[in-house]
């Protein structure tokens, strides 16, 4: 009998790296909103059709909430289908890009990296 290994399934959650979570906390403190959570969503527009948005705010109605590295991430239901599997990372240093979305659903991404199409 032979067994075949199934390809790894795409993770359907959204995650944040520890470094990105640390930077969110620093930014929240500087903005005077240390008690707010991170809301990650998608809106129409940008060169490729869909644009990522990051806000420091509480959960909206129907949001899915994920807790990681001591940070709560809220994702609106309609945005979730475009973000499932995304890892939010932070690219620091002189050549860094800041917050970076590594989104497996993105077929194309615009030059600045904030817009994508699926």
């Amino acid at each position: 009998m032979t067994t075949t290994s199934r390809p790894a399934r795409k993770p359907l959650t959204i995650s944040i790296s520890e470094e990105a979570a640390d930077h969110i906390r620093v930014f929240a403190a500087k903005s005077g909103k240390p008690d707010k959570d991170l809301r990650v969503s998608v809106k129409g527009g940008g060169c490729s059709g869909l644009t990522y948005t990051l806000d420091l705010e509480s959960a909206g109605e129907d949001d899915k909430t994920i807790e990681q590295h001591g940070l709560r991430l809220h994702v609106p239901k309609k945005s979730y289908v475009f973000l499932a599997g995304t890892v939010l990372e932070y690219s620091g240093g002189l050549n860094g890009k800041g917050f970076v979305f590594n989104n497996p659903n993105a077929k194309t991404t615009c030059g600045c990296g904030t817009s994508f199409s699926v």
């Binding site: 129409g44 527009g45 060169c47 817009s115 199409s117």
Partner: protein, 330 residues
């Protein structure tokens, strides 16, 4: 309008180019876009800068795919508590779905209201002055793509300067049941003009139409829609491609007007899709053809830029036609 009331083609042509013409506008679709985020969303989805739209003002803007190809060329007018989007009737469902798809958390609701209205257009050098007289509006009230609401001979009309046939042409949008009354009110000293003469003038002026010239095979710069594009507004869908084409001068083809005389090779010998040949090679393809009311034929074609002012051979029989860039001045 009754076809029996139409004058000979040449008279219709003169009304469109030298006087005042009333035309049916059956190819226009109407979308009502409501909600506080409507302007912001449409600004993010299309080429022109809509951010400053205020009641009474409007803009021509292009919906493009993320590859910078044309979906449609709507006119968006601000009606105060909603936006009225005049699009191509055959594109109305696509435009509506496109806006809907990109509506996430925004307060935006789109509805297709095409069937609720009847639209008559007026064109010709006297059109703008006639619209001002009928509506009581001043020239300042009707800038390009501006809108006024007025009673015209007892009929409530939304009057939009859509410039559908070049500068100073307007659409009168009325309730469906008022369509004939509005046409009668507009008739006055005007000539009713049918679709053939209208199409000839559209082609002669190089005005692109949905499907034949405006489609996902072409970008807005090829179609000559640069006036409907803002290059400093920021991102919109397709912006990266459109900006690159413009910045690096990478537009390969342009829409051009062809005309050729009546002769052994008639319009029937030249069809949409036929090759345009220059220097013995294919340099483009025909997208529209019409008999010209004053004789001969006119056509539109996307051709390589080097040939914009050349003499070319068209169709299987190789009729010789002159090419020139579009001129949309009334």
């Amino acid at each position: 309008m009754a076809l029996s009331r139409l004058a000979p083609q040449l008279d219709q042509y003169r009304a469109l180019t030298e006087g005042l013409a009333v035309v049916d506008r059956p190819n226009v679709g109407l979308l009502r876009v409501e909600g506080k985020d409507s302007v912001d969303l449409l600004d993010r989805l299309s080429t022109n800068d809509l951010a400053a739209l205020a009641p009474g003002l409007g803009a021509s803007t292009v919906l493009t795919t993320n590859k910078g190809r044309v979906i449609d060329l709507p006119t968006v007018v601000h009606m105060g508590d909603y936006l009225l989007v005049l699009c191509s009737k055959d594109a109305a469902a696509r435009v509506s779905e496109w806006i809907d798809f990109y509506t996430f958390a925004e307060d935006v609701v789109v509805s297709d209201v095409t069937d609720q209205y009847s639209i008559a257009g007026i064109a010709g050098p006297l059109a703008l002055a006639t619209a001002q007289r009928l509506t009581g509006a001043t020239a300042a009230d009707l800038p390009p793509y501006g809108v006024v609401e007025a009673d015209v001979a007892g009929v409530k009309a939304i009057v939009v300067r859509t410039d559908f046939l070049g500068t100073g042409t307007l659409d009168f949008i009325v309730a469906g049941s008022d369509g004939q009354a509005m046409r009668d009110a507009l008739a006055g000293d005007a000539e009713f003009v049918g679709p053939e003469a209208l199409e000839a003038v559209r082609i002669e002026r190089g005005i692109p139409a949905f499907a034949s010239e405006l489609n996902e095979d072409h970008n807005p710069l090829e179609a000559g829609l640069i006036d409907s594009i803002s290059f400093n507004k920021g991102c919109y869908i397709g912006q990266e491609v459109v900006a690159r084409l413009n910045t690096y001068d990478k537009v390969q083809r342009r829409l051009a007007v062809l005309n050729w005389p009546t002769g052994p090779v008639s319009a029937k010998s030249v069809s949409i899709g036929d090759d345009v040949n220059g220097d013995g090679k294919v340099i483009g393809a025909i997208t529209s053809v019409a008999a010209h009311p004053s004789g001969g034929f006119v056509g539109l074609a996307y051709v390589r830029r080097a040939y914009e002012n050349a003499e070319v051979a068209i169709g299987p029989a190789g009729a010789i036609a002159a090419l020139k860039p579009p001129d949309t001045g009334a």
